[in-house]
Amino acid sequence: MTGTVAISADVPKRQGLLAGTVRTMGTIVLGAALCLTPPTALIALGWLTRKTAHDIRGNQGAPSNERPKFVRGDPTSDRRISRWFGGLVQNLSAGVKAWFGVIAFTLPFSLAWLTGWFAGWENSFSKGYEQAGVWPTVSLLAVFLSLPILSLLPMAVAHQAQHASFASMFALKEILNRVRAAGWRYLMLTILITLGGVGVLGARALPVFGEHMLAENVQGDVKALKAFGAVFKIVMTVGLFAGILLVRKMMASTYAHAEARMSAGEMAGKFKSLFILTATGALWLSAVFIIYVGQFLNYNWWAWFNQPVLMLPWLMTG
């Protein structure tokens, strides 16, 4: 008589969980590798954009395309080159659109931040007392004017991902409606992004003390410091990409939630919306403060224009 072995219903679930974990780890490793240089970070940004759109459709329960890949394209394509590299081309295209879009969205104030900082310190160095107040005033104005724009930025990024066009970044009325519809979820998303900014500050600030971290660095061993810098950058980039995946996931779910509420005519009231936007503005104020602190510790002019959590996922370290 042959015995039968009961197969637990959990096994397929566990196998699925394992496969999912392995896939996520692989995604993080590959994505982080792409984020190590600016040109390849564009590819990562494009993939993140396409993944956000994919996740939005998933959250909406809509039939979605296959999960985007970093390099491979549509496996059913007639053309071999499309099957092998179609994903790469799509990622690059999406990344360029996303990057140009977000740069254009933020350039008016990020340029003023850069100019205010540079010109302000130049004036201070030259002891231009007569115009001492000019550039600090410009900087403060630029900071406060940036807040309403930044408050909309996460939703604008999601909106652009959904519509896959440069121009959709500037559909302000539609973006604002979705922010109103998203309600408290949008505030939670902004909190997560602000925390991400703290992580980016850590990645920029810790190298300042890099020479104190290891005995070889303390002794001024140049090779040891370079090796440390390389490892540090890799570790921080992995952390950054993993964090961005989390932010993007929440971004997609917030966007889908907003669209569902809009379809159902459930918009947050004016006062609630105003409160949420004010609160997100306050969070962005702290995020901007963090950017300034980062510049004092480890100055890089490019850091005025690029915030890795929402923009090009590239850390300027090492």
Binding site: S124, F125, V208, E211, H212, K226, Q295, F296, Y299
Partner: protein
Amino acid sequence: MAVTRRRFNAALAASAATLQFGFNLTSARAAYRGPNVIIVRFGGGVRRAETIVPDTTWAPYLVNVLAKRGVLIPDVHIADIEGMDTSHAEGTINILTGRYAAWKDAGSKFLTPRIEPTAPTLFEYLRKAFDIAPHEVLLINGEDRPQEEFFSFARHKKFGGAFRAEVLSLYRYKRWLYQTLIAEGRAKSEQLENLAEQMKKFDKHTLPGRTPKANARLDRFWQHWRRDYRETGLINARGDQLLTELALRAMRQLKPRLMMINYQDPDYVHWGNASHYTRAIAVIDRGLRQLVETADHMDAYAGRTVFVVIPDCGRDSNSLLGIPFQHHFNTKSAHEIWALVAGPGIARGRVLDKPIDQSQIAATVGAVMGFKARYAEGDAISDLFS
């Protein structure tokens, strides 16, 4: 008067005798007949690469002209001591006292350290050893660093305020101007109100026993300053060029025997603009040239002035940052500085290629001027003398 090795050793012996008895053998302080000394704090924190390395220097006068007139010491080191920082205040006190960690906190705030020396400074050693008027021992400070007022004398029971240096700075000018305007009764009420507000801020920078004292020679000095530059602070030179202007006018009007000029602007690179660092070095270099050329053309200084040029601290060389020298956070490079000593009795065109400690500067100045910096940790650099 040149400082030869024989005179150097004799001065050490005489100073030791003076200190053993606790007073000058003639019981009154003798007139000072030694050389003038001008200490240039090439400050704000500078690396060797941008100063003394010929291929990368931003200080061509220092490297190509002044170094040929004296001894360049390329390997001066700030000792790496637990709890100590490579900073401007600490470095200046190291230079002035010849001791590390010879200071106490006097109410430091974020980005504004306020520390007082606790070991005697060169100013006090000199004035206690010789009969020198307060205006002949000067400290030239930048306008926005009133905390450097505290370097004019130490909290030390055997030295202290009675032997202080006088300080020249725009901060001091404003204090003098405010009191003068009140005494003249001529100031418009709005002007007086503004000055009264400034005086309240000034009072936050004073400590017990450190309120500036009346000095007729300095009153005349500031009167001439006011005549030339008036009262707005907008006509006079600014930044580190202001310090050069103050020093040059002091040489002409006050003829100090010992003067320290605390240049600082290279430190602007903390805010991220690399050109502030290099331009500031070039400004100090030009100031140095003006000081030396002025000394060369004045009877009181020509052939009788020793220049001691030394940074307060180095800067980082952190390849992990966009600006490797943005800060000076106690790294190996921040401990690496240099010194240049030039003048009568000092060897010419020489490079002293052996490690020297920053704490040795005080004893060296003492040897040049004929007093012993008794509380200094470091020994005088005898290899300097011709």
